[in-house]
Symmetry: C2
Subunit: 226 residues, 2 copies
């Protein structure tokens, strides 16, 4: 049995949230140039509210925005927003500075690498391809393929099985305590939290349950401990 | 009332078919590099067959291809194909050499310009934005907005009404005889066929029905007659 390291993608391998924010602001500015009668800052507040209501995976945020502002959808403005959003996002898309060297380091140390992600399988491979990281991973297991979402332990177990890895020798790396960390621990793995801080109640929980958890500032620090 | 010129988009304003062919071949080569066990030419023949069966607007041709070859979908290969297809298509996307100067010429001559297209409104605006042509058009009327498809005369009438144009003074420019030309003529407009040749039976029909129809080699020749 191999030692495996499983990774989450968004905000673990690359700065999803930061890029999305920049891309959304750029899109709104182009929509404003095209006739959306809002100030840049107000438009962003409005859009954030819509994203919060509809969820970030909903793909019609700009439709809702024009409907709220004009009382009807404005296809030209929506198209301007969508094109700008995607162009900026793809232009900015790159791993965290330490991601690639860390994956290389783990490869050299004999770890088998996989991805465990809530989402659509093809979309997750698409991210890894665009990030230039797909060659590093043996398996990408998504909630679509597993039929359950993180933190359900089954999704972690499925990934380890397909990779021929033993849970007690394997590690999950992610930025979400409840999804990534607790899911992996309940599947019998170790876990490392990156790019995130524990809340007080999470700290209390960890102490009470005697959970061993590494918390790293960024993914590059994996090289020091693995 | 204004004089209007309505345009079809695909293969009228830009070389849709040529770009799509190049993009598909590039995508297949990347999929073959990624492990699709086919020769380049055989893969293209297989893909064309799938496109013919499913229609060109179906967005899962590569899914079907991997299913046919492997007996199951291969998400990494599908993602490689889709990314390459879109990257190549967007990299190549530009109007025919004469399109922009022709639209400028018609603008100067006082014609109001519109688009009549079977498809989704936002998608059609997206094409015009990416082509750098959207500023030329007062209206984009799609089958989605009209509730009927070309050649139904209603879609042409709706476009002219919204543009404040008179059908007897307006002209449709497109590359499809049955959709673009016959639809426009049945709506009381003139029509100009570009980038296409009439079949013998279409010629017979035109003679029999005494339809006046200009046939131009390319969109640039509009400058000589309008």
């Amino acid at each position: 049995m191999f030692k495996g390291v499983l990774f989450d993608i968004d905000d673990t391998l690359y700065d999803t949230s930061g890029f999305a924010k920049l891309a959304r602001k750029a899109a709104l500015n182009v929509m404003i140039d095209g006739g959306l009668p809002l100030e840049s800052e107000d438009a962003y507040i409005k859009l954030r509210k819509i994203i919060k209501e509809k969820g970030s995976n909903y793909d019609k945020h700009f439709n809702v925005l024009t409907r709220e502002v004009f009382g009807e959808e404005k296809p030209l403005l929506i198209a301007l927003g969508m094109i700008t959003y995607h162009n900026v996002k793809f232009a900015l898309l790159r791993p965290f500075p330490e991601t690639t060297s860390t994956l290389l380091h783990l490869n050299k140390r004999g770890y088998h690498l996989g991805v465990v992600s809530n989402g659509i399988t093809i979309k997750q491979w698409e991210k890894l391809i665009r990030l230039g990281l797909y060659h590093f991973f043996d398996e990408v297991i998504t909630s679509e393929a597993a039929g359950v979402e993180k933190p359900d332990p089954k999704i972690f177990e499925l990934a380890l099985n397909q990779m021929g890895c033993k849970s007690s020798k394997s590690i999950m790396v992610g930025n979400k305590f409840s999804e990534d960390i607790m899911g992996a621990i309940n599947a019998g793995m170790s876990a490392i939290l990156v790019n995130s801080k524990l809340t007080e109640s999470e700290k209390d929980f960890i102490n009470k349950e005697k959970i061993e958890l590494e918390v790293l500032e960024n993914i590059g620090e994996l090289k020091d401990i693995l």
